[in-house]
Amino acid sequence: MKPKEMKELEYNQSLERDILDALRNPRPIFWLAVLVCAGFFAIGMATWVYQMLKGMGVAGINNPVGWGVYITDFVFWVGIAHSGTLISAVLFLFRAKFRNVFNRSAEAMTVFAVMTAGLYPLIHLGRSWLFYWLFPYPNQRQLWVNFQSPLVWDVFAVSTYFTISAIFWYVGMVPDLAIVRRYASGIRKRIYSILSLGWTGSLRQWKHYSRLYMFLAAFATPLVISVHSVVSWDFAMSIVPGWHTTIFAPYFVAGAIFSGTAMVLTLVIPMMKIFRLEKYITVDHFDKIAKVLLFTSVIVTYSYIVEFALAFYGGHKFEEAHFLYRAIGDYRYLYWMMLFCNSLLPLTLFIRKLRRNILYLFILSLFVNVGMWLERFVIIVSSLAKDFDPYNWGVYVPKWPEVAITLGSFGMFFMFFLLFTKALPVLAITEIKEEAAE
């Protein structure tokens, strides 16, 4: 935050310098990190090609568990995307100033996570090259897509989500790109000049900008809720025990924001350390974001309890049997691990000292990431493994292509994020200036 004795101009210039410093001179270690991530990404892509050539049989999914790691990954990455929108749009509408230091990287995270998530339905399709059949377009088969299918809703929800978050990210970035343009030279100046669209900072531009930003935030807020609701309805629309329950939409939305907030911490804490941005991202900011994490964790726990309790309250045999299976069946270790990571461990954030301990937050965020991945895995796989008919039961274990593609998606995500930190301003400079001036 701005020290009192500092003049506005002085502060603004030092702010620009500090943040643009992060863009300069990548050290070899940076390239090494990019290379490692790119390596994972390449392995993942190669595995996908292998799967296409050999057929879906190389993956562990089969009857009865037709949805396995791929769908888990899809839900996981869409979930990661959500807190980006929460931080940039919802907190914007609530005028919560602490968002200003997180929003740029959170929005970048959103865009990359949706890109990663978008790959999974294609990977899962098997005949990935026919993906365009998902879109409604006039064709010689004279068929339209089934608009009653949750999977088609997904197509609309996720593509809308990607478009709107990309626009939101870019619109907010244009004024900052104009700042980068001012400091850059040579070919970089050309590129940033084009990207910043000839921004001058005139009254007219700011006027329309402020309005548009507000509207996009107002659109993004219900959108983010609808997207994960639709994802949850992929499951809830069926009548499979453990999936068919009305609370799924808010439960998934809270879970998504929970996991995404954890991912923001996972990304921002090292970023802050490496680029020495402690001056701008302070412990107070982390304290507040930890509260968001705690809040969503409590909602998720509430949903776990409600789901579990009502299964027994209603006395429906299949529901009862299913929830018992989750707790003591084949996937029990994953289930208890999930409860530990998502419900128990975050409760420590009630302690103020731990909320303000950056290292602790970082470690906790890793646990939450794991826990939330497990949550989706448990929900998806255990329901399919044991549904109504004992003749139709089975156990699913992922095979190596699924693991490789999952690692590949992490590689892709982190590679994009690393490149982002060197290509674009990692903090929202203008918004921090505006906040400091008040």
Binding site: P136, N146, F147, A157, T163, R182, W206, H208, F219
Partner: protein, 145 residues
Amino acid sequence: MKNKFSFDEKHKFLHKLEELVKSGVSTENINIFTPYPVHEAEEILKVKPSAVRLFTLIGALTGLLFGFFLTIWTSLDWPLIRGGKPIVAIPAFIIVAFELTILFGGVISFIGYLFLSRLPNVEKISEPEEHGNQFVIHIENEGKK
């Protein structure tokens, strides 16, 4: 009289702006450039509210209507009962209509914003106009006032 003023600090800039408007300079002739949005300046210059909202409204309504039209028309085009639901299953179509409302609303607002603020500006891309962290007041057509 000078027709270009620049300031390091917001309050000085606002002060001068107020002075200029009071001294009778037509608000239409004043151009200002700021490093971040300054809403007080909008009040001083009495600018009209942004027309972006018109684009938003039109976009959102178009999306809503198109969403329902697309789902209902394609369902009627090949009336096939799916899952025991009515051919025109409004509860399911609400979702598609909702997403398209937001998609159209967002995209058309963005286009409207680009149009209204005259971006991208080819001239300024090839030769960027920089004001740094200065708050600049620029008065045009001094003589014609």
